[in-house]
C-alpha cells in the first residue's frame, strides 16, 4: 500500500538537486495534482581557490539552474535555501574528524539525518507543507504496524542503506516517488516530462569534495592535525611510512607503498600512534562486529528475533547474521560466514528481505577465530578499498 493517496491534494516540498531523480520525483508529484514546491539546498562551501570544480557533483550554481529550469518546465515554484552552516557543522566537520580518528566516514547518512530529513523537514513544515519528497531509490510502505522502509526496486541504485536512521516520524512525512522504478524508467519519465536532465550523469563523489581527493580535503581542512607515521605489519616490523592516517581505509590494498611477497591490506589504523597496520588477506576476516548508535526503523528493537541480513558498507551484498543489543545503543553482530574488512566509521544496516529494520555505526570488527568450522573464502573484491561511498 502506498503512503500517498493520489486523490487528496497536498503541499509537498521536493528536495531538488538538479539531477534526474529528484526532477522526476517533482514531476510525478505535480502530475498527480499535488502542490509541489521545489527547494534546492546550498550545502557545500565554494571550492577552495585553485581546486578544480567538479561538473558532475551537486550544489554548483549550474545544478541550481538545472533545478530552476526543471521547476519552470513543471510550472512549480523553486527556491534555494542556504544550509552551508549546518552542513559544515553536522556533515563536513564530522567527516574530517572521522578520518583523523582513523575511521572511514559515511557523510551521506549524516546529511540525510541532519539536513534532508531534519532541517529541510522543519523548513517544509514551516512553509505549510505536510511532506518532503526526495529522489532516493528506496520505498516507504504503510500498514497497521506502521511505516516500513524498503530497498529501491532497482537494486543497483538502491539507497536504503543511506536512510537507515529514519524512524517512524520521518517516514510518515517522506515520499520517495522514484523508489519503485528502475533508473531507465526514471530517465524515460524525464524525457516524457520534457525536463531536459534525462542524460545527466549520476553524481558519484562526495558533493563537497569537488575533485574526489578526500585525503587532500582533510589535509586542507585540518593541516595542523595531520601527522606522518609508520606502516607496520602485525608483528610490529616497520615496512614504511605514511603522510597521515587519513589517507587509509581498512581493507585498502592499493597505494600502500610497501612491497611484500603476498598482497597486503590495511587491517587496522591507530590514531593515537598514527600507525597503519597491514596484513595479509586472511587477517581481515571477521566473525562479527561491534557497532554503536543503533536505531530501529520501527523505533523499537525487533524483539527476540535476532536474525537479519546485514550490510557492512554500501556496496556489500547483505549477508545472514544475528544481531544482539548489548546496552547503551551498542549491538553485536555475528555473521554466519566470516566477512572481510570491517571498516570503523561505516554503517552496518540490517534487512529482512527488502525491508530495512535498523542499523548502527561500526566501531570494530570481531576477528575471525580459526576454530570456526569453515575456512573463509574471500570474494575477489572483498578487500578492495571502500573509501567513501555516496548515495
Amino acid at each position: 500500500m502506498s503512503s500517498i493517496e493520489s486523490t487528496d491534494r497536498r503541499r509537498i516540498v521536493v528536495a531538488m538537486s538538479g539531477g534526474v531523480d529528484s526532477s522526476v520525483a517533482a514531476g510525478l508529484l505535480a502530475e498527480q495534482g499535488h502542490e509541489v514546491i521545489g527547494i534546492s539546498l546550498r550545502l557545500a562551501p565554494e571550492p577552495a581557490a585553485g581546486t578544480p570544480r567538479s561538473s558532475s557533483g551537486c550544489c554548483s550554481v549550474e545544478d541550481f539552474q538545472d533545478a530552476a529550469r526543471v521547476a519552470t518546465a513543471l510550472g512549480i515554484p523553486h527556491y534555494v535555501f542556504d544550509m552551508r552552516e549546518e552542513f559544515e557543522r553536522s556533515v563536513i566537520s564530522p567527516f574530517v574528524e572521522e578520518y583523523l580518528a582513523g575511521r572511514t566516514p559515511s557523510p551521506c547518512i549524516l546529511c540525510n539525518r541532519e539536513i534532508k530529513f531534519s532541517l529541510l523537514h522543519k523548513k517544509a513544515f514551516e512553509l505549510g507543507a505536510d511532506a518532503v519528497a526526495t529522489g532516493h531509490y528506496a520505498r516507504i510502505e504503510h500498514d497497521e504496524t506502521g511505516y516500513h522502509l524498503l530497498r529501491g526496486r532497482d537494486h543497483h541504485k538502491d539507497q536504503s542503506y543511506f536512510l537507515f536512521e529514519m524512524g517512524q516520524k520521518e517516514l510518515a512525512t517522506t515520499l520517495f516517488p522514484v523508489g519503485h522504478m528502475e533508473k531507465d524508467e526514471v530517465r524515460r519519465h524525464a524525457i516524457r516530462l520534457g525536463l531536459g536532465v534525462a542524460d545527466k550523469p549520476d553524481s558519484q563523489e562526495v558533493c563537497f569534495v569537488s575533485d574526489g581527493r578526500y585525503a587532500q580535503f582533510v589535509a586542507r581542512a585540518a593541516p595542523d592535525r595531520v601527522r606522518s607515521g609508520e606502516i607496520r605489519n602485525e608483528k610490529g616490523d616497520v615496512l614504511g611510512t605514511h603522510e597521515g592516517i587519513h589517507g587509509y581505509t581498512v581493507g585498502q590494498r592499493r597505494g600502500l607503498g610497501v612491497s611484500a611477497p603476498n598482497p597486503l591490506y590495511v587491517s587496522a589504523i591507530d590514531a593515537d600512534s598514527a600507525t597503519v597496520t597491514v596484513s595479509e588477506r586472511g587477517a581481515l576476516a571477521a566473525d562479527g562486529l561491534v557497532a554503536s548508535g543503533v536505531t530501529w526503523v520501527a523505533d523499537d528493537a525487533p524483539g527476540d528475533d535476532h536474525r537479519v541480513l546485514a550490510r557492512i558498507r554500501y556496496r556489500h551484498e547483505a549477508v545472514p547474521a544475528s544481531v544482539v543489543e548489548t546496552g547503551n545503543g551498542t549491538v553485536e553482530l555475528r555473521f554466519d560466514e566470516p566477512q572481510y574488512a570491517i571498516t570503523p566509521g561505516q554503517a552496518t544496516v540490517f534487512y529482512r528481505n527488502d525491508e530495512v529494520v535498523g542499523g548502527a555505526w561500526i566501531q570494530r570488527g570481531i576477528p575471525h577465530t580459526p576454530h570456526t568450522p569453515r575456512t573463509p573464502r574471500a570474494p575477489r573484491d572483498a578487500a578492495r578499498p571502500t573509501a567513501v561511498e555516496t548515495d
Binding site: R42, V61, P77, K123, L127
Partner: protein, 374 residues
C-alpha cells in the same frame, strides 16, 4: 506590479519611459558621433537626456558620464582613482555594496591599500578613522548615499567634514538618486547611479564627476569624455533621461507618501507580530522597511510570501539566489538570532496602502504558521 515589494532590487519601468524609448528606437537615428543629419538627431536625444539627468543630481550636463549602471560607475571611479600617480588608498565602510567592496579588495591586491571604517549600530562610519586615513595620504572615500539593504542614509555634513581636503569622495548613490535629494559638488567629487532604481531601464547608469579627477582605465573612442568609450546606449540613455525628469518633479511628494506607507506598515507589523525588530531607521530611505522576525528564517518567509504572490527580499543573496546572512546586518551589529531572519520590504510608485495592508496580513500568516510548526 501588485504584490511587488522589492523596489531596491529593481523598479518597474515607467510607461512614459517605455514610450520614449520605443520612439527613440523606431526613429531612424544615426550614431551621435556622426556628422550628418541622422547623427545630429541622435546627438540631440543624447544631449537632452544628459541635461535631464544632470538636473536631477545637481550637476552640469558635461559632468555626466553614461555607463551601464552604478557597478560600472564604481569601477571606473575607483580604478581611475587608483591609476593616478602617487601613493593613494581607498577608504570604505564595512557595509558597502559588493561592487564597492570587491573593487576595493581587488585594488588592494594591486597595490592600493583598502582602509575600512566600520559603522556603528546606527550605520554611521568611524569618522575619526576616515579623518586619520585621509590626512595621511590622498584617499578616495567611497560610501553609499543610502544603503540599499538597511535604508541608512549617510550623514553628509559629518562625512564631508571628516574627509581631508587632499582626498576625494565618491558617493554610491544607486539607492538614493530620485528618492532623496542628492547633489554633486559641496565636497562630493563623484556619484554613481543606476536608472533601473528610479523607474528607468536596466543596463544604463551614470557616473557624475568634475573634469580630470580620475585617470582613464578603458581605451577606445572619445565618447563620454574617454572614460567610457564605445557607442552610446541611446535608447537606455533616453529612457533614463525621462525617468530622471519624472522623478525630479515627483520626488518630494512621493517621499512623503512612501514614509507614511512605510511607517504604517511597521506599525501594523509590530502590532501583529511578537518578537520582530526594525533594522531600517526612521530617518532612513522613505521606501525601505528592513525587519527581522525572531525564529523564522528569511528563506521560509520569502518562499511563503512568494507562494501567495508577494515579492520581498532577504538582506542578501548568494549567486544561486539563496538568502544568506548579510555583511550589512553583521556590520550593523544585528543580534545573531536575527541574522538569518532579515526581510527587506521596499516600495515604490506603484505601491498603495491596500498593497501594504495585504502584505502585512500575508506576512503575519506566514510567520504564525512557521512558528506553529516549529
Amino acid at each position: 506590479m501588485q504584490g511587488y515589494f522589492d523596489y531596491n532590487a529593481t523598479t518597474p519601468t515607467r510607461p512614459e519611459v517605455i514610450e520614449a524609448m520605443a520612439e527613440a528606437m523606431s526613429e531612424p537615428l544615426g550614431n551621435p558621433s556622426s556628422m550628418h543629419t541622422h547623427g545630429r538627431r541622435a546627438r540631440h536625444y543624447l544631449d537632452q537626456a544628459r541635461e535631464r539627468l544632470a538636473h536631477l543630481v545637481g550637476a552640469k550636463p558635461r559632468q555626466i558620464v553614461f555607463t551601464s549602471g552604478a557597478t560600472e560607475s564604481n569601477n571606473i571611479a575607483m580604478r581611475g582613482f587608483a591609476a593616478l600617480a602617487g601613493e593613494r588608498a581607498i577608504v570604505t565602510t564595512n557595509i558597502e555594496h559588493v561592487s564597492v567592496l570587491a573593487t576595493a579588495k581587488d585594488l588592494a591586491t594591486k597595490g592600493t591599500p583598502h582602509i575600512v571604517a566600520n559603522v556603528d549600530g546606527r550605520g554611521i562610519p568611524d569618522m575619526e578613522a576616515i579623518r586619520r586615513a585621509t590626512d595621511a595620504r590622498p584617499c578616495l572615500v567611497v560610501t553609499a548615499w543610502a544603503n540599499g539593504e538597511s535604508g541608512h542614509i549617510a550623514d553628509m555634513d559629518a562625512l564631508t567634514a571628516a574627509v581631508a581636503e587632499s582626498s576625494m569622495l565618491l558617493m554610491d548613490a544607486a539607492q538614493a538618486v530620485g528618492r532623496i535629494p542628492t547633489r554633486l559638488g559641496n565636497r562630493v567629487d563623484m556619484m554613481s547611479l543606476s536608472a533601473h532604481k528610479f523607474g528607468g531601464p536596466r543596463g544604463i547608469g551614470a557616473l557624475a564627476l568634475a573634469d580630470d579627477v580620475i585617470a582613464r582605465t578603458s581605451t577606445g573612442g572619445p565618447q563620454e569624455r574617454n572614460l567610457r568609450p564605445g557607442t552610446e546606449n541611446l535608447p537606455g540613455i533616453v529612457g533614463m533621461g525621462v525617468a530622471a525628469e519624472l522623478r525630479r518633479r515627483e520626488m518630494n511628494g512621493e517621499a512623503q507618501r512612501l514614509v507614511r506607507l512605510r511607517d504604517r506598515t511597521w506599525q501594523r507589523l509590530s502590532g501583529a507580530l511578537n518578537d520582530v525588530i526594525r533594522l531600517s531607521p526612521e530617518n532612513g530611505l522613505p521606501n525601505t522597511l528592513t525587519i527581522a522576525v525572531g525564529n523564522v528564517g528569511s528563506d521560509v518567509i520569502l518562499a511563503g510570501l512568494d507562494l501567495v504572490g508577494f515579492s520581498v527580499s532577504a538582506g542578501s543573496a548568494c549567486a544561486a539566489g539563496a538568502p544568506e546572512p548579510s555583511h550589512v546586518a553583521i556590520g550593523l551589529g544585528v543580534d545573531d538570532r536575527y541574522l538569518r531572519n532579515v526581510i527587506r520590504i521596499s516600495s515604490g510608485c506603484g505601491t498603495t496602502e491596500d498593497d501594504t495592508d495585504r502584505l502585512v496580513e500575508a506576512l503575519t500568516q506566514v510567520v504564525a504558521r512557521a512558528r506553529k510548526a516549529a
